[in-house]
C-alpha cells in the first residue's frame, strides 16, 4: 500500500525547497505533495474538476499567509469536512502574532510552529514534525 503523503501548503518556493531539504536531511522519506495556495490545496484534497487524485495525507503543513484562500480558511474547510476532520494540521508560519496563533488553534490546528530563520533550527523543527506527527500517526500494519 502506498504511503500517505505530507501535504505542504506553501506559496514561497524557497520555503518549499528548504522544507523538502530539511525533511530529506532528517531522512523522512514520506512523499510530499505541494500546493501553492489554498484553492490548490482544497482541490488536491477534495478533487475539483482539474484534479485527478483525491488526496488523503498523513499530515498537512499549512502556511497562513497564502494567496487566494488563506491558511485559516483552508483549515476551517478541512475541519468542516468529515474525510479531513481527523487529519493532523500543523501551522507553519513566520508570524509571531499572538492573534494568529490563537485563531489557528481556535480553527482546529493541531500545532503551531514558527519557521525559524536559522536553518539549523529549521532542520530541528522538521525533525520534530517527523518524529512526532508522522510517527504517532503511522498505520499499525506499517510498523
Amino acid at each position: 500500500m502506498m504511503e500517505k503523503p505530507i501535504l505542504l501548503v506553501e506559496d514561497n518556493q524557497d520555503d518549499v525547497a528548504l522544507m523538502l531539504h530539511a525533511l530529506h536531511n532528517n531522512r523522512i522519506r514520506t512523499p510530499v505533495v505541494v500546493a501553492e495556495d489554498g484553492e490548490q490545496a482544497l482541490a488536491k484534497l477534495f478533487g475539483a474538476q482539474n484534479a485527478q487524485v483525491q488526496l488523503a495525507p498523513a499530515l498537512i503543513l499549512l502556511d497562513l499567509n497564502l494567496p487566494k484562500l488563506n491558511g485559516l480558511d483552508v483549515l476551517r474547510e478541512l475541519r468542516s469536512n468529515d474525510s479531513t476532520r481527523m487529519v493532523p494540521v500543523v501551522i507553519l508560519t513566520s508570524s509571531l502574532e499572538e492573534s494568529d496563533r490563537l485563531q489557528a488553534y481556535q480553527s482546529g490546528a493541531n500545532s503551531y510552529v514558527r519557521k525559524p530563520v536559522d536553518f539549523e533550527e529549521f532542520i530541528a523543527v522538521a525533525q520534530q514534525l517527523g518524529s512526532y506527527w508522522l510517527g504517532l500517526n503511522q498505520p499499525a500494519m506499517d510498523t
Binding site: 514561497n12 520555503d15 525547497a17 528548504l18 513566520s94 508570524s95 502574532e97 530563520v117 536553518f119
Partner: protein, 721 residues
C-alpha cells in the same frame, strides 16, 4: 453690638424729647385746673357765706320781732287785768309756754317791782312780795318808762347781773321793756321781760357749718357776742377780755365793717369774711351803751378750712396727673422705640441702597434695571462704556434703544411675555444675541434676566455681558476640536497601516532571510571539504547577517506591539513574573551560574503582557551584560517612594557611562559593541515605552565596570494614593 447701643441711645433721646414736654404740659394743666378749682371753691364759699349771713340776719330779725311782739301782746293783756293775781297767773301761763323769757316783771311807775315771775327749775314761780326789789335806778327801767305806749325798748345784749355780780354760768340776756297803759291810755306801769339770749345764740350756732364757715355775732362796739372761740366773747363785760375786740384783732375787717354800713365782704391772709349789720335803733335816739342798737353778723371762713377741701381735691388732681405722666412715659417709650426703629430702618435702607448701587457699579457686566413697561430706571457705568451712552441719555428711555432695530418690535412682545412669568433665566435660550450701541453698531452679548419685587413695584434686573471674546473663543474651540478629530482620524489610519505593515513584515520580511540562511547552509554543506577557511567564513557571515536582521525585525515588531497595545491595569505579582523569566533565561544558558535575588511579594499596577515585555528585556540585559563578570549577581527589590511603587533591577555587570544615560532609552542606541554584547538597541526603548504606557517611568544609574541599576516607577492604584 454698637448698632444696638446706638439705637438704645436714640431711644433714650427720643423718649425725653417726647416725654418731657408732655410732663410739663400735664403739670401746667393740672396747676391751672387746681387754680380754677380753688377759685371755684372760693366762689362757692362766698355764696355759701352770703347765704349764711342772710339766714342769720333773717333769724335775728325774726327772733327780735317776735320778742317785741310777745312783749306788746303781754302788755296788752296786762292793760285789761283788774287784779294782781290775774296778772301773775297770766305771766305764769305765758312763761310756761315761752321758757325763753326767764323773768317777767311788772313795775310800777316808781320803778318798784310789783309782780315778778321767774323760771325756777323749769317752772314759773312768782316771787313773794318780800323779795321784790326797787329797780328805779336801772337804765332799762328809766328808758322803758320813757317809751311811748306801744313801743318796745330793747336793752344791749349782755350778761345778766345778779346782786351786782355777773351771773354764773353766763346768762346772756336782752331786756325788753314796754309801758303798760290804762283804759285812758295813760302809762300805769312797765312790763320788763328778760330774754334768755342763749336761745338766740343757739339758733345762730345752728347756722354754723362744721369745718367750714363760722358765724360771729358782734355788737356795735366790736365785741363778740358769739364767736367760734367762746373765750373771746363778752369782752366789754369781762375786764380780762377787754382786748377781745374786732377793732384790735381784725383791724382792717372792722374798719371795713364800719365803713360799709350795711353789708360787705373782706379777705384777710387767714380767712374770707362776709358780714351784714342789723340796726335795732335806726333813729339813734338812745345812747349806744344803753340800747341793743346795731348788731353785726359775720361769717368767717378760715383759709385753713377752704384749703382743706381744695387740698383734698388737689391730692386727687396730682395723683391723676402723676398717673397721666406715667402713662405718657410708657407711651413715650413706645413711641421713642418706634421712631428709633424707623430711623434705624431708614438708615439701613439708605446704606442698603448705597451698597446696592456700589455693587451694581462694581459689577463687570453692564447692568440695567427697567420697570414693567421697559423703561430704563438705572444703568451702571459699565453700561455707558459698553453702549457709548451717558447714563442720563438712557434713564427714561425704552430698553429697545439697545436692541438691533430689526428686532426691537419683536422684543416688545418678548418683554411683555416675560412679565407674565418673570423667572430668573438667561435670555434668548441659546440664541446668539446682539445689542445695539449708540452709533448703531452691533455687539454680541449674553443677557440674564431676573425680576425684583420691591415694596411698590416690580422691576426687571438685566445683566448684559459682552460676548465678543467668548464667541471668538467658542469658535476657536470648535475649530480646534474639528482639527483634533481630523488628526485623530489620520492617526487611526496610520495605526491601521502600521498594523498591516508589521503583519506583512512578520510574514514576508522573514521569508527571504530564511532563504538566505537556509540556502547558504545547504550550499555550505554540499561544498563541504571544497571550501577554504575564508570561503567558510563568508558563508558564516552571510548567515549571521540574516539571523541578526531577523532579530532586529523581531525586536521592532515587539516595539510596535507595545506601542499598539491596549493597557489593562491590574494588581500583579512582579516577583513571580520576574522569577519565571529568570528561570527561563537560566535554562537558555545552562553553562552560566548567576545569583538571582528577588524580593518576594512585590505587587504593582500593570498590564500582564507589558510587564512581561519590560521584565524580559531588563532581565535579558542583566544576563547579557554580566556575561564577562566573575560572580554574576542580579537583584530585584522595592524602594519606598512617595510618588509610586519603585522597583529596581541591579546587576554587577559591565555597566555604562552615565554621560550617555540620556540616550539609553532611544531606539537603536547601543552603548556597547555588537561583537562584545550582541543586541539590536531596541530593548530599553521598548521598556521605556511600556513604562510610559503604564503611567510610570524608568531611569538608570551606573558607572562603567560597576554594574547598572534600572528603576521602574509604577503608578499606584487610586485607592492607595
Amino acid at each position: 453690638m454698637p448698632i444696638r447701643m446706638e439705637q438704645g441711645k436714640y431711644v433714650l433721646q427720643y423718649f425725653f424729647l417726647i416725654w418731657l414736654p408732655l410732663t410739663l404740659l400735664t403739670v401746667i394743666v393740672t396747676s391751672a385746673l387746681m387754680h380754677n378749682q380753688r377759685q371755684m371753691a372760693r366762689g362757692t364759699a362766698a355764696i355759701e357765706q352770703q347765704a349764711q349771713v342772710e339766714s342769720a340776719q333773717s333769724l335775728l330779725s325774726s327772733r327780735l320781732s317776735r320778742i317785741q311782739a310777745d312783749a306788746l301782746y303781754l302788755a296788752g293783756q296786762l292793760a285789761l287785768m283788774q287784779s294782781d293775781e290775774q296778772a301773775t297767773s297770766t305771766f305764769e301761763t305765758f312763761q310756761r309756754y315761752h321758757p325763753q323769757y326767764y323773768q317777767i316783771r311788772l313795775l310800777d311807775l316808781n320803778g318798784h317791782e310789783h309782780i315778778r315771775v321767774e323760771l325756777t327749775d323749769g317752772q314759773p314761780l312768782a316771787l313773794p312780795s318780800t323779795r321784790l326789789q326797787d329797780k328805779s335806778q336801772r337804765y332799762y327801767v328809766q328808758l322803758g318808762l320813757q317809751q311811748p305806749v306801744g313801743s318796745v325798748y330793747l336793752s344791749p345784749f349782755d350778761l345778766n347781773m345778779e346782786n351786782g355780780e355777773i351771773e354764773r354760768p353766763f346768762q346772756p340776756t336782752i331786756r325788753v321793756a314796754t309801758p303798760i297803759a290804762d283804759a285812758d291810755g295813760q302809762t300805769r306801769g312797765l312790763l320788763v321781760i328778760n330774754y334768755r339770749g342763749q336761745y338766740l345764740l343757739d339758733a345762730l350756732a345752728s347756722l354754723d357749718k362744721p369745718n367750714k364757715a363760722a358765724l360771729w355775732l358782734v355788737n356795735a362796739n366790736g365785741y363778740w357776742l358769739k364767736a367760734s372761740d367762746p373765750a373771746i366773747t363778752w369782752g366789754f363785760m369781762l375786764p380780762e377780755r377787754s382786748s377781745a375786740n374786732l377793732s384790735q384783732q381784725h383791724v382792717s375787717l372792722w374798719s371795713q365793717m364800719i365803713r360799709e354800713d350795711n353789708d360787705g365782704s373782706a379777705v384777710s391772709d387767714d380767712a374770707m369774711y362776709r358780714f351784714v349789720s342789723v340796726d335795732f335803733d335806726p333813729r339813734n335816739d338812745i345812747p349806744l351803751s344803753q340800747s341793743l342798737g346795731k348788731l353785726y353778723i359775720v361769717s368767717e371762713l378760715a383759709n385753713k378750712q377752704l384749703l382743706g377741701t381744695s387740698q383734698h381735691a388737689g391730692r386727687i388732681f396730682w395723683q391723676a396727673a402723676a398717673l397721666v405722666i406715667l402713662l405718657f412715659a410708657m407711651l413715650s417709650l413706645l413711641l421713642a422705640r418706634a421712631i428709633a426703629q424707623r430711623r434705624a430702618t431708614e438708615q439701613s435702607m439708605a446704606s442698603n441702597e448705597e451698597m446696592f448701587r456700589a455693587m451694581i457699579e462694581a459689577a463687570p457686566d453692564a447692568i440695567i434695571i427697567t420697570d414693567t413697561d421697559g423703561n430704563i430706571t438705572l444703568a451702571n457705568e459699565q453700561t455707558t462704556v459698553m453702549f457709548d451712552y451717558a447714563e442720563q441719555e438712557l434713564v427714561g428711555q425704552k430698553v429697545e434703544v439697545l436692541i438691533p432695530t430689526n428686532l426691537a418690535e419683536r422684543h416688545v412682545q418678548h418683554r411683555s411675555g416675560y412679565m407674565m412669568e418673570p423667572k430668573s433665566r438667561p435670555m434668548g435660550l441659546g440664541l446668539s444675541l446682539y445689542a445695539r450701541r449708540k452709533d448703531g453698531s452691533h455687539l454680541p452679548v449674553e443677557i440674564s434676566l431676573s425680576s425684583i419685587q420691591t415694596a411698590d413695584s416690580k422691576l426687571v434686573f438685566c445683566a448684559i455681558r459682552d460676548a465678543t471674546e467668548r464667541r471668538t473663543t467658542e469658535r476657536k474651540i470648535r475649530q480646534l476640536n474639528e482639527s483634533l478629530a481630523q488628526q485623530n482620524n489620520e492617526l487611526q489610519a496610520v495605526n491601521s497601516e502600521l498594523e498591516a505593515f508589521s503583519y506583512s513584515v512578520s510574514h514576508d520580511l522573514r521569508a527571504p532571510l530564511r532563504a538566505i540562511d537556509g540556502f547558504s547552509k545547504i550550499l555550505q554543506s554540499s561544498l563541504e571539504g571544497k571550501l577554504d577557511a575564508q570561503e567558510t567564513d563568508y558563508f558564516n557571515r552571510i548567515r549571521k547577517a540574516a539571523q541578526n536582521m531577523s532579530r532586529l525585525i523581531d525586536d521592532l515588531l515587539m516595539l510596535a506591539r507595545v506601542t499598539r497595545a491596549e493597557v489593562k491595569l491590574a494588581s500583579l505579582d512582579l516577583s513571580r513574573t520576574a522569577a519565571a523569566i529568570a528561570e527561563r533565561l537560566q535554562e537558555s544558558q545552562p553553562e552560566r551560574r548567576i545569583d538571582v535575588q528577588i524580593e518576594p511579594n512585590i505587587r504593582v499596577q500593570a498590564d500582564p503582557a507589558l510587564l512581561g515585555v519590560a521584565l524580559d528585556n531588563l532581565l535579558g540585559n542583566a544576563f547579557k551584560f554580566t556575561g564577562n563578570t566573575a560572580e554574576p549577581r542580579i537583584e530585584i527589590g522595592r524602594i519606598d517612594d512617595p510618588e509610586g511603587d519603585v522597583v529596581f533591577v541591579r546587576d554587577n555587570g559591565v555597566g555604562f557611562d552615565m554621560s550617555y544615560a540620556d540616550k539609553l532609552f532611544t531606539p537603536f542606541q547601543r552603548l556597547h559593541s555588537a561583537s562584545a554584547f550582541p543586541g539590536t538597541g531596541i530593548g530599553l526603548a521598548s521598556i521605556a515605552r511600556v513604562m510610559n504606557k503604564l503611567g510610570g517611568s524608568i531611569w538608570a544609574e551606573s558607572s562603567e565596570g560597576h554594574g547598572a541599576t534600572f528603576y521602574m516607577r509604577f503608578k499606584r492604584a487610586r485607592s492607595e494614593q
